[in-house]
């Protein structure tokens, strides 16, 4: 009288809470092993979160800087003529460029050849090299969004006087941190009063090592020839491309090919892109750490299953199905791995924050990075735990109880 058709009683489902509880019970019993075997995962996730976080923070910082500097600054400088000779920009360049549609502001500098700058006539010549003297138009700070740190910029009156504004690096080289009524530097044969010092200019780093005098002073006192060596153009943001296109011809209608047009913000972007390639390498290393961590979890689980045959047999005797045993060890592997993942995400965030703070950046960690990290570790745990869990489920309860 066999109940051939009867499927018999069906097992009860474990509630999610019970599933997690049984999965965690094995971990609670061996805390040290949990820490050691989750370490690889933690390091991997930390590396990846930190890489993503640091590059996002750096990107956010760059974006903030570009937003304040503007990406609409375009420069024209003499390049090489078609014949391969060094070109010069004609004197009327600034005015022609100013008349272009879409141009909002123009300024120029003209380098004074052969002029050197000294703190006083007692300092030997070699001691203060590397400072370039320019005759600058009065619009320069506005066009470059350069900030005068101390003192003031040149004006219509001081433009012809022996007055000079120093770039940040130039002031440092000359040993001038503050300016007073008597602060002077020797340019060529004549003493110039220092009237201002600039902050570093991000979009025109050549200004940092410059000594800027008025165009009249450059021509009248230092013998400059009046040719611009660089024209700075602020274009309307939506017309940058257009301005770029016609800038060379406007600067030098006769030899437009001898004019080099560039956008300084592109250089900042390019540097960022180079950093990103390095980030890719670190990301790859983090991936390797994760992989090794996954193998560590699998190894720990295999050992755990062997050690806990008695427990497996007991649970089967208490009514656990094979599937429930498999589920318990899978959950355990996933919990082990995810613990590492959470610890790694926290660690990665801390590293990012620490690095960003030392760089003076805002901390920007995209939410997806730690989220994806923890989710990935759940997946890694599932893969790593699969084989051990299947072995646990296959363990014959009679043998398991006998050995336990």
């Amino acid at each position: 009288m066999s109940r051939g058709s009867g499927r018999g009683p069906r097992p009860a489902r474990l509630s999610p809470a019970d599933l997690v509880r049984t999965g965690a019970s094995g971990l609670r019993a061996r805390p040290l092993r949990v820490v050691l075997s989750a370490l690889g995962i933690a390091i991997g996730v930390a590396a990846m979160v930190a890489v993503v976080g640091i590059s996002a923070s750096s990107r956010a910082d760059l974006d903030a800087r570009l937003a304040s500097l503007g990406t609409n600054l375009v420069t024209a400088a003499p390049g090489e003529s078609l014949l391969g000779e060094a070109a010069t920009l004609p004197k009327g360049a600034e005015d022609r460029v100013r008349r272009l549609p879409g141009v909002r502001g123009v300024a120029q500098v003209g380098q004074v050849e052969g002029a050197s700058v000294y703190r006083s006539d007692r300092i030997p010549e070699e001691a203060s090299g590397g400072i370039t003297v320019y005759g600058a138009s009065l619009d320069l700070p506005e066009t470059l969004r350069a900030h005068v740190r101390t003192g003031e910029w040149l004006n219509r009156a001081t433009s012809g006087y022996p007055a000079v504004v120093l770039g940040a690096t130039a002031a440092e080289r000359l040993g001038i941190a503050r300016i007073g009524p008597g602060t002077r530097v020797l340019i060529g044969e004549e003493y110039f009063s220092v009237v201002g010092i600039l902050d570093p200019v991000a979009l025109a780093p050549e200004m940092d090592s410059a000594a800027l005098v008025g165009r009249d002073a450059a021509a009248g006192r230092l013998g400059a020839d009046g040719h611009p060596t660089r024209v700075y153009v602020r274009a309307a943001p939506e017309r940058v491309a257009e301005v770029r296109e016609v800038l060379a011809r406007a600067a030098d209608p006769e030899e437009p090919f001898g004019v080099e047009v560039s956008r300084p913000s592109d250089a900042l972007e390019a540097k960022e892109a180079a950093d990103r390639a390095f980030s890719g390498l670190l990301l790859g290393l983090g991936g390797v750490a994760l992989l090794v961590g996954g193998v560590g979890v699998a190894n720990t689980m295999v050992i755990s299953v062997l050690e806990r045959r008695g427990e497996i047999g007991l649970r089967r005797a208490l009514g656990a199905t094979r599937r429930q045993i498999r589920g318990q060890f899978l959950v355990e592997a996933m919990a082990l791995s995810a613990l590492g993942g959470v610890a790694g995400a926290v660690l990665g965030a801390l590293v990012t924050a620490g690095y960003a703070v030392t760089r003076g950046w805002m901390v920007a960690i995209p939410v997806w990075a730690p989220t994806a990290g923890v989710l990935a570790t759940l997946g890694i745990g599932a893969v790593a735990g699969l084989l051990p869990a299947v072995r646990a489920a296959r363990t014959a309860p009679t043998e398991a109880l006998g050995s336990g």
Binding site: G8, P9, S25, G313, R316, A317, L318, G404
Partner: protein
């Protein structure tokens, strides 16, 4: 005999266990059990005795569906185990069978209360109910004041009582004990046997393997196994089969 049961629940009329010509052969010609038949009625207390290697544990594992026979049929609380897959056998174990082992098999670092509550884990009862019933079961075995002690804080006899509480916490139709006194001194062993007898008096069907002749002598029914076969099946006071159902 119409004990067919399709409802999926225990048939109250069915005996706790029935074996028909059961064989358990291992590869290599080992005949751990070879043609064993008997019936255990509800509410019985049965001792299984016999020399080492005679097949007692094998028999108990078949009764508890931890193992499957290579021949014959085993029915537990009315269910033919041959018709049960792993899920079915596990569910029946969770609901209708309680095990007591010689080595206790308690979880270390887990309080007595939770060790006992785990006896109900696979029945699907919620944690609160499992704990409440575990408390009751521990009180029944006289450990109501040791709920939060962990196994290493208990004596061997107390540990075995915790294990017994775990076996009976779900009021199973069948309690199976494989040498429950084997790891205990005489006094603790006697106390454990008395506990099993008490539980039996309160209605539980108990099958217990024991090597101890004295302990076995006090049992109302003894099945003696030798070389995988039933050598004798005797009841105290002649064959007064008051427990056995017809």
């Amino acid at each position: 005999m119409t004990r067919t049961n399709t409802a999926g629940a225990d048939d109250d009329g069915a005996p706790a266990a029935e074996l028909f010509d059961v064989e358990r052969h291992y590869p290599g010609g080992v005949r751990a059990l070879d043609g064993v038949s008997f019936r255990i009625g509800r509410g019985e207390l049965v001792g299984i005795v016999g020399p080492s290697g005679s097949g007692k544990s094998t028999l108990l594992n078949l009764l508890g569906m931890l193992d499957t026979p290579t021949g014959g049929s085993v029915r537990i609380t009315g269910f033919d185990t041959a018709g049960l897959d792993d899920d079915g056998a596990s569910a029946l174990r969770a609901r209708s069978v309680g095990f007591v082992f010689q080595q206790f098999h308690l979880a270390h670092n887990v309080a007595a209360l939770d060790n006992v509550a785990d006896g109900l884990l696979y029945t699907g009862a919620p944690l609160r109910r499992r704990r409440a019933r575990a408390r009751g079961a521990l009180e029944r075995v006289g450990l109501g004041d040791r709920l939060h002690h962990r196994p290493h804080e208990l004596s061997g006899g107390q540990r075995q009582r915790v294990a017994i509480a775990r076996a009976v916490v779900g009021d199973p139709g069948l309690v199976l004990a494989d040498e429950p006194t084997g790891a205990l001194d005489t006094a603790s062993g006697t106390a454990v046997m008395e506990l099993l007898q008490e539980l039996n008096a309160a209605g539980a069907t108990v099958v217990v393997i024991t090597h101890d002749r004295e302990l076995a002598g006090g049992l109302p029914r003894r099945i003696r196994v030798r070389d995988g076969q039933v050598e004798s099946d005797e009841r105290a006071g002649g064959d007064g089969g008051g427990h056995v159902q017809g």
